[in-house]
């Protein structure tokens, strides 16, 4: 038996007791929620939103101060642990550069490096101005010119981000989804019908095929993976496909350093080998019918033979399907020619390695995971390669099988109360109007949650604003996002934010975007200062975790998602527009007491209660152990679901055919429907609007599309590839001294610096040595960073972490805030704007930016 820390602590209670030192062991102490014998504070429950792992936490609080952070030991999914990002949040909440009061700009001139002349104002003045501007638009029947954008939010965020703008009569409220990872969900949906991330049965998986997946280093399921990785290394094979040598690659059996943007070729070659070697899962996929012989006189009439022979087409009628659909079509159109030798040329990976991976992956079959991530899907036209990576799970029958990738356990939370009775004429009118992000246009299939024209086109909003297309945006409000830093082609956002006549930015720090704002509003910190909740899954368990005000809040702030929403609604009511206020004050009923909210604070708490009630109200829904009461939920902090069931969707996949689709009828239906709206066919749209190489049947099949690369290779000789930092709280860590002091935790990086990691062969060619300042230029822009020779990337491909390069945000993040001088360079200033148009996702990966490198100084 493996000795874990926990089992040691249990066992050693006796041992330590004998030494007369220990009378309280952490293990027993943890169980009853007090912790240490001498402690005077208390452990409180909350949750982290430093990434989308959304981990339940315990915060030790002493005299209203947060002292330390641990994983919530009541959480099954995370094994009671959390990653280092959770502890970094302590420096975030106590960041001296936090905005402590509402403020407004006094300099009407906007631009990078121009002092906005911010001065403090009262909440009263801020709310008054905001309400006046909103009502001005409303009274002029142009409420649609109010746009709301957001970044990270908790599950109560819709009060501010959805229902407030909707009731104001604008359809233009947008999340950040497509600068995140929607292409990953879309790829999953196209083959298995599940528009979501997958869970993974790590305990039983024997072979991990990681597609640029780095769960040791960054999101998703990070704590669960960290807690399990030692066991996984002992028990399973791990192959990491990634252009860079990642934290997970460092602890894997094999690193396959793929040329960025070629994942589809590799996945198709693996599928080719699985089929030609006859190692697909016959029960799940199906098999050739009996009695099919190439040579009828050979005497093996009753045997099934494998007709998947490289280069040869197969008759569709010869195959009997199990749970799947369209394999023969996939083979005939794509796979018959995707040999390892073919892929080797494209991917830069040895054909022998490809064959070995395919053989090993199929050997472990039902307990082999092909774990696809944004690195593979968030490429220009990335959906098809990601579909191929995902489809490998179907080929070996591991999808929803023991040891495979899974449909996460479902947990119901409370619905939002119906807001429709509170709409006025304008709200009703604009609810039917198209959203202004161009999703309805022919250029975008924009498939969201499985429906075309249903996905937010986040990064495209810059074009909407810049070109007044379809109309001018007169009032922009943003919450917990920083698109002038976090969107590719970041320069466009600077221009867009300059152009908007009135911009209200809700932000904890004076971020890049904040520099263009007319009013800045300081929010409370989600982890320490307000109510909310998150829902997620890790390691086969879905959980609901509370966020609570666990410390004495600092500064003159409001919980943005709820208190601020209430405050604005109240101010609008005072000025004669009471729709939002009525919805907030009448539709939300405390499920415990029956009370209605009467102020900001009660609204914040009641919304959280309404939404989470099904996990604690005692009406056991058989989805896990009901917590019994709100008080218990606040104290324990987390609801754990029953474990995810394997084979949950077998026989009834969410696809059009109800089967696991290698030929995606599901995708076909949506693409055809989108083209039909404009009386076109899919091929015409592909050629003229959507920018994919696929035509005909290929449009619905997982396949390889040639990578998009911006820049002439002669002028821009290097392929630029980026990755995430293990300490980045979604781009908000750079102002924390701890982030900078430990930046070297990212492989190849240096403390307090921002490195472009270059293969030593290229370093020599460029005449560079470690630490040289270099200018990195693409067709989009240029940044100044340091050079670092590193073997973790191939010659010709240069690698850089995302997260540094802030020219605002705070005194640590920026080299000189007053002069708008960045520390390092922001990748988004050299990454051009490119999309996977089917999912609407902004591309970040796949090496689509070529760069040239110039030495500036030693």
């Amino acid at each position: 038996m493996k000795i874990t820390r926990r089992s040691f602590l249990k066992a050693s209670a006796l041992g330590l007791g004998a030494t007369a030192v220990a009378s309280v062991t952490p293990f027993t102490a943890l169980a009853d929620e007090s912790h240490r014998k001498n402690e005077t504070g208390k452990w409180t429950s909350t949750a982290c939103q430093g990434c989308t792992s959304f981990c339940p936490l315990k915060v030790y609080v002493e005299k209203g101060r947060a002292i330390r952070v641990n994983g919530n030991w009541n959480c099954t999914a995370t094994h009671g642990t959390c990653c280092p990002k959770a502890s970094l949040a302590l420096q975030q909440v106590y960041d001296p550069d936090r905005i402590k009061t509402p403020m407004k700009r006094t300099n009407p001139k906007k631009g990078r490096g121009i002092d906005p002349g911010f001065i403090p104002i009262t909440w009263d003045e801020a709310l008054e101005t905001i309400a006046d501007k909103l009502l001005e638009l409303h009274d002029n029947n142009e409420s649609e010119k109010f746009m709301f954008i957001k970044g990270r939010s908790s599950e109560v965020g819709d009060a501010l981000y959805h229902y407030f703008p909707a009731l104001m009569g604008t359809p233009n409220y947008y999340g950040h989804a497509t600068i995140c990872a929607e292409a990953e969900k879309a790829a999953s949906w196209a083959v298995n019908g599940m528009y979501s991330y997958r869970d993974y049965d790590m305990a039983n998986c024997k072979y991990f095929l990681m597609w640029s997946t780095d769960p040791i280093g960054s999101n998703r399921q990070q704590p669960a993976v960290m807690a399990r990785w030692g066991q996984i290394m002992d028990a399973a094979h791990i192959v990491v496909i990634d252009p860079r040598f990642s934290a997970t690659a460092a602890k894997a059996d094999k690193w396959l350093p793929i040329i960025p943007g070629t994942d589809g070729a590799l996945a198709c070659a693996i599928a080719h080998v699985i089929l030609t070697t006859g190692k697909w899962n016959k029960d799940f996929v199906g098999d050739f019918k009996e009695g099919l012989q190439n040579y009828p006189l050979s005497g093996f009439y009753n045997k099934r033979v494998n007709l998947f022979v490289a280069g040869e087409e197969v008759n569709e009628d010869y195959f009997e399907y199990g749970q799947c659909y369209g394999l023969v079509k996939w083979w005939n159109v794509v796979l018959k020619d995707t040999t390892p030798e073919w892929a080797a040329e494209i991917c830069g990976i040895d054909a022998k390695d490809i064959t070995k991976v395919a053989k090993d992956f199929s050997k472990y079959g039902t307990s082999a995971c092909s774990w696809m991530s944004p690195g593979t899907s968030n490429q220009p036209n990335g959906i098809y390669g990601a579909m191929a990576a995902e489809a490998l799970n179907g080929l070996v029958g591991s999808f929803e099988n023991k040891g495979g990738s899974q449909h996460s356990a479902s947990v119901d939370v409370g619905p939002w109360p119906d807001h429709r009775p509170y709409r006025d004429k304008l709200a009703k009118k604009f609810e039917k109007e198209p959203k202004c992000d161009h999703r309805n246009r022919i250029e975008w299939p924009a498939i969201g949650s499985g429906k075309h024209s249903n996905q937010v086109l986040t990064n495209n909003l810059a074009e909407v604003i810049l070109n007044d297309d379809p109309y001018e945006i007169k009032f922009l409000m943003s919450k917990y996002c920083n698109y002038a830093f976090s969107c590719t082609g970041a320069q466009r956002w600077e221009e867009a934010m300059c152009k908007v006549p009135f911009y209200v930015c809700i932000t904890m720090n004076p971020s890049e975007s904040a520099q263009f704002a007319d009013i800045l509003l300081p929010p409370k910190h989600h982890m320490f200062e307000h109510y909310g909740y998150v829902k997620n899954f890790q390691d086969m368990v879905t959980y609901v975790a509370i966020e609570q005000p666990v410390i004495t809040p600092l500064w003159d702030t409001k919980a943005d998602e709820t208190e601020l929403a209430w405050a604005i609604a109240e101010r609008l009511k005072d000025k004669g527009f009471d729709k939002v206020y009525k919805y907030f004050s009448k539709a939300f009923v405390d499920p415990e007491t029956g009370n209605l909210p009467h102020d900001e604070a009660s609204f914040m708490e009641i919304v959280t209660k309404v939404r989470t009630a099904p996990v604690w109200n005692g009406q056991d829904k058989k989805q896990g152990k009901d917590l019994g009461s709100w008080r218990s939920f606040c104290s324990k902090g987390v609801f754990n679901s029953n474990p995810a069931k394997t084979k949950k969707d077998w026989g009834k996949f969410g696809t059009k055919t109800g089967r696991y689709e290698f030929y995606s009828e599901t995708l076909k239906k949506q693409l055809e429907a989108k083209a039909w709206v404009y009386a076109k066919d899919v091929d015409y749209c592909m050629e003229n609007y959507w920018g994919y190489q696929a035509r005909g049947a290929l449009c619905y099949l997982p396949h390889y599309e040639e990578p998009v690369r911006f820049g002439d290779p002669k002028e821009y000789p290097y392929i630029f590839s980026e990755h995430r930092s293990r300490l980045s709280r979604e781009g908000r860590s750079a102002n924390l001294p701890l982030f900078q002091e430990f930046k070297d935790l990212d492989l190849g990086d240096e403390a307090w610096d921002d490195m472009l990691k270059i293969n030593p062969v290229d370093m020599k060619e460029l005449g560079l040595k470690d630490g040289d300042t270099i200018e990195v230029e693409s067709v989009q822009g240029k940044i100044m960073v340091k050079a670092k020779g590193w073997e973790g990337t191939r010659p010709g491909v240069v690698i850089k972490c995302y997260g540094q390069g802030h020219w605002a945000f705070g005194h640590v993040a920026a080299a000189d805030y007053a002069k708008a001088k960045p520390r390092g360079g922001n990748n988004n200033e050299i990454l051009p704007v490119a999309y996977d148009r089917i999912s609407g996702n902004t591309a970040r990966h796949g090496g689509f930016a070529r760069v040239k490198i110039k030495k500036v100084s030693a």
Partner: protein, 233 residues
């Protein structure tokens, strides 16, 4: 008798730095100083690479070179075998830092962690906070200050005094585990009594070929490393 020791299981370690980070927060370690840190090494050539990550800290040696040269007796072994500092006695001579072969001792710099915070100026006048305002708002020089430290006069604030890992004695003396052990998400740090033959330290040392850093120095470290960070290919 009890002999506290730590095992660092490199196989379970994921190189995330949680130990380093929580140590700095817990012990109010000033910027630029590290009581828990790491050394990394990337060997080989593309594409055959090996990355190793090794957490490092004070080894709480059996024969600590630092204590041997300490003129005032401030650095000494406590009854549990830990190498600790008595801040009252420390004369800030710096000889311990020079003597330690592991570089695990740093003379306290001019600025404490609280000073680091206090020094942060206002970014936007009257709009953003500054270090001193944060201190006032939380009524503490260091927002994450745990009063449990006070009992042991920790952290060491005197300029030049020996800053080193004291195995979180403010926790351990009350029967708890050091902060780095508690927070490690990979359960790669094991703390306990090495003399306890039923304890995990003893068992793991037996099970694996535990190693120590610089055995040739003869200091007898009680921080042991087992297994490898990477898989063996």
């Amino acid at each position: 008798m009890t002999r506290y020791a730590m095992i660092l299981n490199l196989h379970d370690c994921v190189g995330c730095g949680t130990c380093d980070i929580v140590c700095k927060i817990e012990n109010q370690v000033p910027q630029g100083v590290f009581l828990s840190h790491h050394v990394t090494e990337t060997t080989g050539e593309f594409p055959k690479l090996r990355y190793s990550y090794r957490p490092i800290m004070c080894n709480h040696c059996e024969k600590p070179a630092c204590a041997q040269v300490c003129p005032s007796g401030a650095l000494h072994k406590d009854e549990w075998g830990l190498t600790v500092v008595d801040s009252d006695k420390c004369v800030s001579c710096g000889s311990c830092a020079k003597a330690c072969p592991y570089g695990a001792i740093t003379p306290a710099p001019d600025k404490t962690a609280a000073d680091n915070l206090a020094d942060v100026p206002t970014l936007i006048a009257d709009c953003t906070a500054n270090g001193k305002e944060v201190q006032e708002a939380v009524e503490s020089d260091y927002p994450m200050h745990d009063p449990a430290l006070d009992e042991f006069e920790l952290p060491l604030l005197k300029k030049g005094s020996a800053l080193k890992c004291q195995m979180c004695k403010h926790l351990v003396y009350h029967g708890d585990v050091p902060r780095c052990v508690e927070a490690c998400p990979a359960h790669a740090r094991i703390f306990g009594d090495e003399e306890d033959i039923y304890g995990e330290i003893h068992q793991l040392k037996e099970m694996y070929d535990a190693s120590v850093l610089m055995p040739e120095k003869g200091t007898g470290p009680h921080v042991y490393y087992i297994r490898e960070f990477h898989k063996t290919w």
